[in-house]
């Protein structure tokens, strides 16, 4: 008894920054197909960790191993200090799961669903408060089957939260949502950070990861191909910015000042683009030159590669398609 309590308390009191999930050399093979090829991951206490990857990259396999739903072929996995492969009710009490697909409990209202699930846990959260947290207060008496897709997903999140878990898995929580439902769902997930929860989020939407995640790992073909913050992922912070503009008639790229000319090229569409590692300096040079000649560049656009650009280059089947 004493031993169990001690471990539990250590888990509960884990300080910010301590690893909640730790994975070393995780591999999973289905017959001759190697779905996950020896990956390492570390998720720290209190962060939102996004796990990105195209369909079939090994994303769901990895998550289901971490959730204790699937066995693994090799590697070490520790989630809240326990190997999920032999985790029991004690561990499930501390983990919340939003599955990729799961129907609502048939025949029960939102409130009844939460009452049912609250009864499964040792120290459940307040039911009304949890319903309010996901924005379903007005639907508390409605049968699950009558909810819209977005509302059902919020009920899924409420059910994962009702046990007051330390760690929450969200498997593609907004797939198939319209933009406003996605925004609403993001607010709910962002709210979990305020509650001090650790969130493991899988998604294939870049904007979702960029908006929510503290850190991102990208899996492609069973391997982690990049890891970092949304700003630094895949060396994004060191990538050149693209300065795009259209020159007026009679002015060509070769007329640009000497400092810009070697960096500039003409686009098939007729516009010009300058690849720059020092965008501020180059924009100033461009502006001085244009204003000095008495014209404006009304469609001037300065852009760093989007997370989507980085992601697509990282997960491209042949690799290296990035500009």
């Amino acid at each position: 008894m004493i031993d169990t309590d001690t471990t539990l308390d250590m888990g509960r009191m884990a300080e910010p920054g301590a690893p909640v999930i730790s994975v070393r050399g995780l591999a999973k093979r289905y017959g001759r197909y190697q779905a996950v090829k020896g990956i390492d991951l570390e998720v720290r206490h209190g962060e939102i960790f996004a796990f990105l990857g195209p369909n079939g990259a090994g994303k769901t396999t990895t998550v289901e191993i971490l959730e204790g739903f699937r066995s693994r072929t090799a590697g070490e996995v520790s989630v809240l200090g326990v190997d999920p492969a032999d985790a029991g009710a004690e561990w499930r009490d501390r983990v919340g799961v939003v599955l990729q697909e799961s129907a609502v409990e048939p025949g029960l209202s939102v409130r009844e669903c939460l009452e049912l699930y609250a009864g499964y846990y040792r120290t459940p959260r307040d039911i009304g408060e949890t319903i309010a947290l996901v924005g379903l207060s007005e639907k508390a008496g409605a049968l699950g089957g009558s909810l819209s897709g977005g509302q059902r997903r919020r009920l899924d999140v409420a059910l994962a939260l009702i046990g007051d878990p330390e760690l929450i898995f969200l498997d593609e929580p907004t797939t198939g949502f319209d933009p406003s439902a996605r925004r609403a769902a993001w607010e709910v997930v962002a709210g979990l950070r305020e509650l001090g929860k650790t969130v493991f989020l899988t998604t294939h939407y870049m904007d979702e990861a960029e908006y929510l995640a503290d850190r991102i790992a990208v899996i492609a073909d069973g391997e982690i191909v990049a890891e970092g913050t949304p700003q630094t992922l895949g060396g994004r912070d060191h990538m050149t910015a693209a300065i795009r503009f259209t020159l007026p008639d009679g002015v060509a790229v070769r007329n640009l000042p000497a400092g810009l000319r070697p960096l500039a090229e003409t686009q098939p569409s007729g516009g010009a683009v300058i690849r720059s590692e020092t965008p501020l300096l180059h924009v100033q040079m461009l502006a001085d030159w244009a204003l000095g000649r008495g014209f404006d560049l009304p469609d001037l656009d300065v852009r760093r590669p989007t997370l989507e650009d980085v992601y697509l280059s990282l997960t491209a089947p042949t690799g290296g398609t990035h500009r």
Binding site: S102, G107, L116, Y120
Partner: protein, 259 residues
């Protein structure tokens, strides 16, 4: 564990009641069958059926038979359909992600079946008593209750076993009906056993429906002497239940099989 099972039961039974299909197939249909069969084949004063120890009114004869049907509807058909649907739609998988023990989920669902089966049996007995003058003798009443409970538990186990081999929720309803309808006809539920050919009865004797109906008839039959326990029939029903339990324990899964 017991508290958790009761907790699960409270919500399962609520969901059961809210499902119009459950209400119709499990509650309304057996009543409908009793009224139809008793009216078509019973009714007149000379309409009797020969059973062990004497003859009884045909309408009275149908009461225990249709109780067997009600038990099977509640404990088997409804359970197979709902468990398969819950598993395939991910409801069970989601519960698996919580600390709830498997035994509590299974016991809670079985309790729903037992309570429903007792309810439908009581309803059918009441109808038999009020409309067909069929009453249960106090001497055999305990045997009747025991038979209903043994039958319910056995068919629950068989239900979990069958659900574990059906991969598609849409197939659950047709499969259970395809299994049960012929058995109802040859097991003395729809047609009195005395008017069935021997070879057909021999076929029926392999399966549990015939023995459940026979055990219920023994406990219900006013000519029965003694306490009314049909020992051999009950043992055969229980053996089928045990076999079902064995399969269910080996094959039960929380995860969808169909995809």
């Amino acid at each position: 564990m017991i508290a958790m099972s009761v907790h699960q039961f409270r919500y399962d039974v609520r969901a059961f009641w809210r499902n119009p299909q459950s209400r119709f197939f499990t509650l309304a249909l057996p009543v409908l069958f009793l009224v139809i069969f008793a009216s078509v084949f019973g009714g007149g004063t000379d309409r009797t059926v020969k059973i062990a120890g004497g003859r009884i009114d045909t309408s009275v004869y149908y009461v225990p038979g249709i109780i067997a049907l009600g038990i099977i509807a509640a404990a088997f058909v409804n359970l197979v359909i709902s468990v398969t649907a819950q598993r395939e739609s991910g409801v069970l998988k989601r519960r698996r992600a919580t600390p709830v023990p498997a035994a509590a989920v299974i016991a809670g669902r079985s309790l729903t079946a037992v309570v429903t089966a007792l309810g439908i049996a009581a309803l059918l007995l009441g109808i038999g008593w009020v409309f067909y003058g069929a009453h249960v003798v106090a001497r055999t009443a305990p045997a009747l209750v025991v038979t209903i409970i043994v039958g319910t538990l056995a068919f629950c186990c068989l239900g979990f076993a069958l659900a574990s081999v059906i991969h598609d929720e849409d197939a659950a309803q047709p499969i259970t009906q395809a299994v049960m309808l012929p058995l109802y006809f040859i097991s003395g539920v729809f047609v009195p056993v005395s008017s069935l050919p021997h070879w057909l009865l021999n076929v029926a004797s392999v399966f549990p429906v015939r023995h459940l109906a026979a055990a219920l008839l023994t406990a219900y039959n006013p000519h029965t002497r003694g306490a009314g326990f049909a020992g051999v029939d009950l043992l055969i029903v229980a053996a089928w239940g045990a076999a079902g339990l064995f399969v269910a324990l080996r094959r039960f899964t929380w995860f969808p099989l169909g995809r």
